[in-house]
Subunit: 153 residues, 2 copies
Amino acid sequence: MAVQSSVSGLDSHLGYWLRYVSNHVSQAFARKVEARGVTVAEWVLMRHLLDEEPLAPSRLAEHMGMTRGAVSKLANRLVAKSLVVAAANPADGRGQILSLTPAGRALVPELAALADANDAEFFGDLDPDAYATLLDFLTQFVERRGLKSEPVD
Amino acid sequence: MAVQSSVSGLDSHLGYWLRYVSNHVSQAFARKVEARGVTVAEWVLMRHLLDEEPLAPSRLAEHMGMTRGAVSKLANRLVAKSLVVAAANPADGRGQILSLTPAGRALVPELAALADANDAEFFGDLDPDAYATLLDFLTQFVERRGLKSEPVD
DNA sequence: TATTGTTATACTCTATAACTATA
DNA sequence: TATAGTTATAGAGTATAACAATA
């Protein structure tokens, strides 16, 4: 082993490795969903809509930890792809409500399958205990830290 | 608890949580280095130069997992900030060699300290065993998979 | 006044590809 | 021809901020 430098190296931090692995896993996933014509951010928005629909852009912004402007842009792309539709909120003249189109609703399970496949590709041969331990650590880390993606808008 | 859906949720994948935590840690670090006027990618380039200097842009591109074009742009920014200098490679008329300026060399330890602080902020109170286990898992994961390109930080 | 959503603007990160100057 | 580096272009991702419509 090399003598410890007085200046920390890039690889001496957990954050570095976390990002290293995360980037690879996410980029591989991005390539998979790209084949279906969507980006990862678009998948996330659509998956949220499957759970709760219709949903206001501002609600989505909260769930996804993005600004309203960013969600607006993302939603526009999905509308252009005919995967999402926007309608006026009957209860509030200012509001919009977003829903999946039939095509969008049909695509979500396919994207979810790709997410499953991606996870299996990278972690499938992991000892189930190790997988569980890691998943547990990460979720508890988020819980403990109260990490929230809440951009100030 | 809700009935399990037939469509995998966002949070059922290790990749999702990895990214969730990684994004928070990296964004916190980005905010820290931003106060010193540099981005995370710039820090990574500079840290590489501290280890090996002078270094050709193409060599850096390999080390950092980026294209030559991307490195060129990054290096230009650092030159504009007077943190890096580019010189002609005396051994090859096509080549450039990049070095840290005195200001750049002085900044690297400060940035490294911020990286240390960031890691401590997020993982400092972690059980040493857990920290070691996680670090071990991630480095071995990279090793086992032969993952190559380096992420930013 | 406060809130919802849109739009304009800006910047990082990164890729591809065309181009120039050597080798 | 092959390689080093630059530059042009593009697009995702995301932020801030100004704005219009409505509450």
